[in-house]
């Protein structure tokens, strides 16, 4: 029953797709632009999530600093927060008149809303927790014995991290990165609220689908199929090798 529940909407999409008119619908420049914005911002968001999230996961898993459980709760908040709420919060913090954003604007002339950078920020906000949670789990369950062995052999902490710990958690890291990328790709509420919607700059695929639905349902279905294909290829590319190993780790 669960399988039917999950597969039925996908079946609906495939069955109702305008297969004949698909090439024309997909040739529109708006589609290519939305896809480009989506892929670029999701990838950048994943990169930032890796840069910021892996150290954070390490702190959560390996240290015993005070207030760690509060930190963990805060970090996983975007996981349960409705995305549009995240968007509102980002606006209030980093918008042109936001508590931090106003200084960005006044001192550096940098405004995040309505830019692709804003899209990346919104997507990083909602997707990073996926990475942090996955990597933290892996670090917790990794075999510390190997790291200790490296230490006794004279390896310095950073060296151990790069050559022992990271390879140990690599499958989970990859799985977390894929989850993070997929979540960033599908982000809608936070993006439209914080970054706005403009073709070529901030209009990601989900936004394009939403608006196309009001103008031309066939175009919306075509765009949905493209997103579906991209998501499935990402899953297939990494599925067997990483996800299974990542889950087992």
């Amino acid at each position: 029953m669960a399988v039917a529940f999950l597969l039925l909407p996908l079946a609906g999409l495939m069955l109702r797709a305008p297969w004949r008119g698909l090439p024309d619908l997909l040739a529109e420049p708006a589609v290519r632009e939305a896809l480009r914005v989506s892929l670029v911002s999701a990838t950048l968001a994943t990169l930032f999530s890796l840069l910021l999230g892996v150290p954070l996961a390490w702190v959560l898993a390996r240290t015993s600093w005070p207030g760690l459980s509060v930190l963990r709760a805060l970090v996983t908040l975007p996981l349960v927060l409705p995305p549009v709420v995240g968007g509102v919060a980002l606006l209030l913090a980093l918008g042109r008149r936001g508590i931090a954003g106003r200084y960005l604007d006044a001192w550096f002339g940098v405004t995040l809303p309505f830019t692709t950078a804003g899209v990346v920020v919104a997507e990083t906000f909602v997707a990073m927790p996926f990475l942090v949670v996955t990597v933290e789990g892996a670090l917790r369950s990794a075999d510390r014995g190997l790291e200790e062995a490296a230490a006794t052999l004279g390896s310095r902490p950073l060296h151990t991290f790069r050559h022992v710990t990271l390879p140990l958690v690599a499958p989970s890291l990859a799985a977390g990165a894929v989850l993070c990328w997929a979540r960033a790709l599908g982000e809608f509420g936070a993006t439209i609220t914080f970054a706005g919607n403009f073709p070529g700059t901030t209009q990601t695929m989900p936004l394009a689908v939403y608006l196309a639905l009001e103008r031309d349902p066939d175009a919306a279905i075509a765009l949905s199929l493209v997103l579906l294909a991209v998501s499935i290829s990402a899953l297939v590319l990494l599925r067997d090798r990483w996800l299974r190993a990542g889950v087992a780790a």
Binding site: G95, R96, P113, F114, Y210, E214
Partner: protein
């Protein structure tokens, strides 16, 4: 430990889903409204988001005049609402901000004959302090001015672009918002220097925004049609509400909100 966890999750999911299933049973009772005598029961009105305040008030006045009735509203962009109705969303009345979206619903044989009840023209909304010193439509095209427009798919976006055409001003917005209130919000938050919204939206926003009038010779307007829907579960009440909106009493509420007299 793991077993208990799985059982707990299953229980939680069931607990979350069952009340939703129970909800669906409610509206069946309302359709038993008597065809003769006073209208009663419940209806759902899908209305353009620019009608939020005026229709809420019309609903309250209607309920006060006809005790025992319940008028519920679903406000959204007219294009999104038309889409929902043609896909089978349960609604009794549709009030659209454009004849085009109403026509979509009529063409899908989901609505009766529409009647126009209001007209709305555009106004530029700016943050209260007007930081970019917008005074005319041409100011919107100044370099460095951030303008929010409605997406071209929604009625407000269509009319806004007509105004820009009339004024022969080319504006590249920083964002195309999904409905007129989202555009207004971007102005209220100070994220943009100006937004093109309806006259009624500027009035509804009160002190949160300042309005910059658009001269009549370049301004454009949109007509608001209302129609009862063929799939309505309470056609008598739906008809009564639509008539009330079209009546003189309804017209007063709309005029007070800033809609143009027809």
């Amino acid at each position: 430990m793991r077993r208990t966890f799985v059982v707990a999750v299953r229980a939680a999911v069931l607990a979350a889903v069952l009340p939703l299933a129970a909800c669906g049973g409610d509206d069946g009772g309302a359709s038993g409204a008597a065809a003769s005598g006073a209208p009663s029961g419940k209806i759902t009105v899908f209305a353009a988001v620019s009608l939020s305040e005026s229709f809420t008030e019309l609903g309250e006045r209607f309920e006060a005049a006809h005790p025992g009735t319940d008028v519920a509203f679903n406000f959204g962009a007219s294009s999104a609402l038309a889409q929902q109705i043609t896909q089978g969303a349960p609604a009794d009345v549709f009030a659209s901000a454009s004849a085009k979206n109403m026509q979509q619903v009529v063409d899908a044989k989901a609505a009766g004959t529409p009647a126009t009840f209001a007209r709305n023209s555009m106004e530029i909304a700016v943050p209260p302090s007007n930081p970019a010193k917008i005074a005319t439509v041409a100011d919107l095209a100044r370099p460095g001015v951030k303008v929010a427009l409605c997406a071209p798919e929604v009625p407000c976006g269509v009319v806004a672009r007509k105004v820009l055409d009339n004024a022969k001003v080319a504006v590249t917005p920083v964002t195309n918002e999904a409905d007129v209130r989202a555009t207004l919000t971007k102005v209220k938050l100070g994220e943009v220097d100006a937004g093109m919204v309806y006259v009624t939206d500027v009035r509804a926003a009160g002190a949160a925004v300042t309005g910059v009038e658009i001269p009549d010779d370049v301004n454009a307007a949109t007509d608001y049609p209302i129609a009862t829907l063929t799939e309505s579960s309470n056609p008598a009440l739906a008809e009564a509400f639509a008539e009330y909106v079209l009546s003189a009493a309804g017209g007063e509420v709309l005029a007070a909100a800033g809609f143009d007299r027809l």
